[in-house]
């Protein structure tokens, strides 16, 4: 039971991270910096609780805010570039963050930051945040700003011709993604009790992208679904445990070939909603 709870908690944090990737992605920005933002959030929150004795919730929020501010600042130059260039910029940023933490002795350097107070209710906090995020994304979907974000993601030129300040929209989305990732990092830090720079490498950012893309990026339920499935499934595939990574990789390739839009699409959401209303 404890084991399942632990897996479920990690899944919850993964949902948060997948959504943090999704926020800027809605405006067409593909970020490989989310693990870097999580690192900033994790370290900031841990410093708050360990060094200054700030309680858990404000510490996590401070972690989010710090990451959000850094995201905002990084977002300004990031706006000028697109596609693969943005991918590389965020990748480089994520790595720099990691290397910087390796070199800060105040937070333990390469050896890691131990002694972070354990939050035993992490499960509830993580899913509480997920719930809040679901409400936010759902509201965003049918709102002026949400439509603007999707419009920018679909076609920047057409968006700007229709009166949308694309710079502002993209920057807000990018900073919001960093903010979410920062809070996810803070929650993670107080669940693991120990953080080290290795926990926030590029491959983690890649993993969040995989969650989102596997689940589907047409609607925010996709990243949520992807994070849950890809967090749980390997745990239950005990009989193929030894090969789960290879299966995971092959699954990704097959997905891209046969269903690149992901598992959850607009149509499937509509279908599910219909079933719920019908019954």
């Amino acid at each position: 039971m404890e084991y399942i709870l632990s897996v479920a908690t990690v899944a919850g944090i993964n949902i948060i991270m997948a959504l943090s990737f999704y926020a800027p992605f809605m405006t067409g920005q593909v970020s490989l910096a989310q693990a870097g933002f999580a690192a900033i959030g994790a370290y900031s929150a841990a410093v708050c609780t360990v060094k200054f004795g700030i309680p858990y919730i404000p510490a996590v929020i401070i972690g989010g805010v710090v990451a959000g501010v850094v995201g905002f600042i990084l977002g300004i130059p990031a706006l000028r570039i697109k596609g693969i260039y943005l991918l590389l910029l965020t990748l480089g940023f994520g790595e720099i963050v990691r290397v910087i933490f390796i070199n800060i002795e105040y937070v333990g350097g390469a050896a890691g930051f131990p002694g972070i107070p354990y939050q035993e209710n992490t499960f509830f906090y993580a899913y509480g945040l997920v719930l809040i995020l679901i409400v936010c994304f759902e509201r965003l979907r049918n709102s002026r700003m949400g439509r603007a974000m999707r419009a920018v993601g679909d076609d920047e030129t057409a968006a700007e011709i229709n009166g949308i300040n694309i710079t502002a929209v993209k920057l807000k989305a990018f900073a919001a993604g960093a903010f979410i990732a920062g809070m996810g990092g803070g929650i993670l830090a107080h669940f693991q009790e120990f953080i080290e720079p290795l926990m926030f490498g590029v491959m983690h950012s890649v993993e969040y992208i995989v969650f989102a893309i596997f689940g589907g990026v047409q609607v925010f339920w996709g990243p949520i679904f992807g994070a849950i499935v890809l967090s749980f499934v390997p745990e239950f595939f005990r009989f193929v445990q030894a090969w789960r990574h290879e299966i995971y990789g092959a699954l990704l390739i097959v997905m891209m070939i046969i269903k690149p839009e992901g598992v959850i699409t607009n149509d499937s959401v509509r279908f599910i909603k219909k079933i719920f209303r019908g019954s």
Partner: protein
């Protein structure tokens, strides 16, 4: 001392160049980021290691053999993970090559173990005096081979039909097709050549670092990307020069900057970010329109 470091930097840089050429070639021809390119390099490093260990063949035979194997690996990757993709989702190639990365990395862990494996001392590790400067013979050989490969590669690109077909593809698939270039086959061969170069780089990194692990792929993939940006996305000649520049810059940064801080990586990624923000076309111009 400074000259000594300069030479070391050039050696390191020449392997970066080999990795970056592959990136630049694939990006130039297909406009996509081949995420598993570093893993091809890693496979090449192990391949070279085991050919030398098991068969006792010398480096100058193991190297071309490895290049053939990784070249074929690259073509298999293209055939299985890139060719079947539909064109309507621009992230699909990135993600499916991430899938390839995950598979190759974990297979390597299973086969070779997750810890580092030592490269055998197949080459006499004598140091050679180049005038007043002492240089290890291994590194000299590496630089020599890298430069030789780059020259051969350059000639292929400039003079052969295949090379011209690749350059035409890099400008426009449509036009190349109208000129009679078999687009699919050329793309296929492009992956082969790029991957063969990555395999060569792998062997040489193994020889010079004298230890390899299944996780070296990502490190060198990132370096390769920085170099490609430095030289201009998709610009293969730029990638050659960019590799040398980054190698020298890294080695000098270790020598000239305070040693207690590990600035080497910050340095290269810092360069990358600065280039992306201020001159995304790279130092030598981009091949993308």
């Amino acid at each position: 001392m400074f000259i000594q470091q300069l030479i070391n930097g050039l050696m390191l840089g020449s392997t970066y160049s080999l990795v970056a050429i592959g990136y630049a070639l694939i990006f130039g021809v297909l406009g996509l980021l081949h995420f598993a390119h570093g893993e091809v390099l890693m496979v090449g490093a192990f391949m070279g290691l085991y050919i030398i260990l098991w068969t006792g063949l010398p480096l100058y035979i193991a190297l071309p053999l490895t290049m053939v194997v990784t070249g074929i690996l690259g073509m298999i990757i293209q055939f299985l993970a890139i060719r079947p993709l539909k064109k309507n989702f621009h992230l699909a190639p990135l993600l499916s090559t991430i899938g390839v990365t995950i598979i190759l990395q974990n297979l390597a862990v299973k086969i070779f173990g997750g810890y580092g494996t030592r490269f055998p001392d197949t080459i006499a590790m004598d140091n050679i005096m180049l005038g007043p400067y002492m240089v290890s013979s291994v590194k000299l050989i590496i630089m020599g081979i890298s430069l030789l490969l780059m020259v051969i590669f350059y000639l292929i690109i400039k003079k052969t039909k295949l090379g011209k077909a690749m350059r035409a593809l890099a400008e426009s698939h449509l036009t190349a097709g109208f000129l009679g270039v078999n687009v699919e086959r050329t793309v296929f061969l492009t992956f082969g050549i790029a991957s063969a170069l990555a395999g060569a780089a792998g062997v040489m990194i193994g020889v010079s670092y004298s230890a390899i692990s299944p996780f070296i792929g990502l490190t060198f993939a990132l370096k390769g990307l920085v170099v490609m940006l430095l030289g201009g996305m998709g610009n293969v000649v730029g990638a050659m020069i960019g590799g040398l520049i980054l190698g020298v810059a890294e080695v000098l940064s270790i020598t000239l900057l305070p040693t207690e801080v590990n600035l080497q990586d910050i340095f290269s990624f810092g360069i990358m970010i600065i280039i992306l923000i201020f001159k995304p076309t790279g130092l030598f111009g981009s091949k993308q329109n």
